[in-house]
């Protein structure tokens, strides 16, 4: 059964057709990779799925709820979380505050109590657990902007997990990571997936895609090119051509 389904999505920016007639079905419980060369429209597609953009046409549903017209913050309540290609942390805030902000939709402190008690809510322990999960427990009170790049990526993941997603979409999570950080990321993704979270990952890094993804969706120039298992994708001449250019495809 597919958790997230899109039919014939289109998105145009001026004269550029960034996404053309893309239909995808992300199966429940899968790790689903979205790959393609630079400018293939992967990030645009992710922005359509997460609600940063609305499509010009097409249909989109999640868990049998129509997503068209729902804005990004509304989709989070349905259980859709995401990270960004260009890291967007709350840089001036501490790691802990970053993750606590992620619990926004689960906060249940009545408004009047916020004025009277200064209670920080009941998610502190859980936020610290999430920090530990991404290996940042000992830096909880540091400023997020002071973290090295790779750890900033992990913090963004912890923050998004605080929304308790059913579907977690990551935009190039491996970009800028070293080999050890990559290894850690792979393990975490698999771990997240085991907790019954469906994962969609936009990625350039083939190692990551081939190692963790169960299904791979390939795009080029805004159109779907191929969909299959990692092994099928690797062997597909069209995909190889799109990635390496025509002369290698023969």
């Amino acid at each position: 059964m597919s958790l997230l389904g899109a039919e014939k999505l289109n998105k145009r920016f001026g004269g550029v057709r960034a996404v053309q007639d893309v239909s995808i079905a992300v199966p429940q419980g899968a790790i689903f990779a979205l790959i393609g060369p630079n400018g293939a429209g992967k990030s645009t597609l992710l922005n359509l799925l997460s609600g940063i953009y609305q499509p010009d046409s097409g249909s989109l549903s999640f868990d049998e709820v129509n997503l068209i017209g729902l804005r990004a913050h509304q989709r989070v309540r349905l259980g859709i979380a995401r990270t960004f290609q260009k890291i967007r942390l709350f840089k001036q805030l501490s790691l802990l505050e970053n993750v606590l902000a992620g619990f926004h939709i689960h906060q249940d402190v009545p408004l009047w109590q916020c004025f009277l008690s200064g209670a920080s809510g009941r998610f502190r322990a859980e936020a610290l657990e999430l920090l530990a999960f991404v290996g940042l427990a000992d830096r909880a009170n540091d400023r997020a902007g002071a973290l090295p790049y790779g750890q900033q990526r992990m913090l963004e993941i912890a923050r998004a997990l605080a929304t308790r997603p059913k579907l977690f979409m990551l935009d190039e999570p491996a970009a800028g990571l070293n080999a050890a950080e990559m290894e850690f990321l792979l393990k975490r993704l698999e771990n997240i997936n085991k907790r019954n979270v469906t994962v969609v990952v936009v990625e350039h890094n083939m190692d990551l895609v081939m190692n963790v993804a169960q299904r791979v969706f390939v795009m080029d120039h805004g159109v779907p090119l191929f969909e299959g298992t990692p092994r099928e994708v690797q062997a597909n001449p069209q995909v190889i051509e799109a990635y390496l250019g025509g002369e290698f495809a023969a």
Binding site: S50, I52, R71, A72, H73, Q74, V76, R77, A81, R82, F84, R88, L89, F90, K91, Q92, L93, E97, L100, A101, G102, F103, H104, I105, Q107, V109, L111, Q113, C114, F115, L116, S117, G118, A119, S120, G121, R159, A160, A162, T163
Partner: protein
């Protein structure tokens, strides 16, 4: 928590003791003004410092508070406290109206729109003479309490209470949400934050507090003219917030105290006064970009190291 309570007692003691140290009527008046400025700086800080919205319209809410309460008292014979409550509500609703702009505009664009809002408010006060008396002004306004010292206790007490409430608020989950919007709105949306609603909350609350300060102003001066609410007042409030340290609770309080007393202390310099004041402002912003609170923290760290 215990040290916080102790600190609060100290502040209460200082507020209680100040009129005994400062005995001339003129300086006691400055004390009242200072307490009002603390309220105004806190109100702007909620919007500017915590929610990150560049709002240059705060003087308008101060004005609305002053005019609504005064007109209700003078023309309709309302009790001061009911009128003050009405002033808070009126200013708060106008804050929500400005928040509608903030939902669509960001940064400099919001600054210009909110500045326009302050200009319009000023012009309405000036020209809607049937209601506001325009430049002729409203005269003979009585304070809610019989003397300056009592008025200082009243306004300072309210400022302390507002400080406590806001201090709790910014440490609550709502504080996390507001700061998230300040830092990155797209990111906040990706966590389920409806920025438009929370901006409206901050603008409405900030405007209401400014309106409350406004309700005390006319009784203090005794007269009410539109010129007291020129857009320069918005910039003065912003200077208090920035000089003290925006996004901290204590910063704008310090900023308000310093920027209320500094011009008065400089009176001995005659015409040079405003120049020195301007120079001091520039130097603070140049060399303490995080305001006085930030400067104090770095100084403490340097001494410790």
């Amino acid at each position: 928590m215990k040290s916080r309570f102790a600190l609060f007692l100290i502040v209460i003691a200082i507020i209680a003791g100040l009129p005994w140290l400062i005995t001339t009527p003129y300086w006691r008046g400055i004390l009242v003004l200072c307490a009002m400025n603390v309220l105004l700086a806190m109100s702007l800080n909620l919007v500017l410092g915590y929610t990150g919205q560049l709002n240059l319209g705060q003087s308008a809410f101060f004005a609305i508070g002053a005019y609504v309460s005064t007109i209700l008292i003078k023309t309709y014979g309302w009790n001061f406290w009911v009128a003050a409550l009405a002033a808070v509500i009126a200013a708060g609703f106008l804050g929500l109206a400005l928040a509608a702009f903030a939902a669509r505009l960001r940064g400099h664009y919001l600054a210009i729109a909110s500045l326009g809002f302050a200009v319009i408010t000023y012009q309405v006060l000036l020209n809607w003479e049937d209601v506001t008396e325009g430049v002729r002004g409203i005269y003979g306004i009585l304070p809610p309490v019989p003397n300056t010292v009592a008025l200082f206790y009243l306004v300072a007490g309210i400022a302390a209470a507002v400080y406590l409430l806001l201090d709790n608020l910014v440490r609550s989950p709502i504080g996390d949400t507001l700061r998230a919007i300040r830092e990155d709105e797209v990111s906040a949306a990706s966590l389920g934050v409806n920025a438009a609603i929370w901006k409206a909350f901050a603008f409405g609350l900030g405007a209401g507090i400014a309106g409350l300060a406004g309700a005390f102003y006319p009784g203090f001066v005794g007269t009410l003219v539109p010129d007291a609410f020129g857009i320069i007042e918005s910039f003065t409030m912003m200077a208090m917030v920035i000089v003290g340290g925006m996004g901290t609770m204590i910063g704008p309080v310090i900023g308000a105290v310093v920027l209320t007393f500094l011009p008065e202390l400089l009176r001995g310099f005659g015409e040079l006064r405003l120049m020195i004041y301007g120079l001091a402002l520039t130097l603070v912003v140049l060399f303490m970009p995080g305001g006085m609170v930030q400067a104090w923290v770095s100084l403490k760290n340097r001494l410790r190291a």
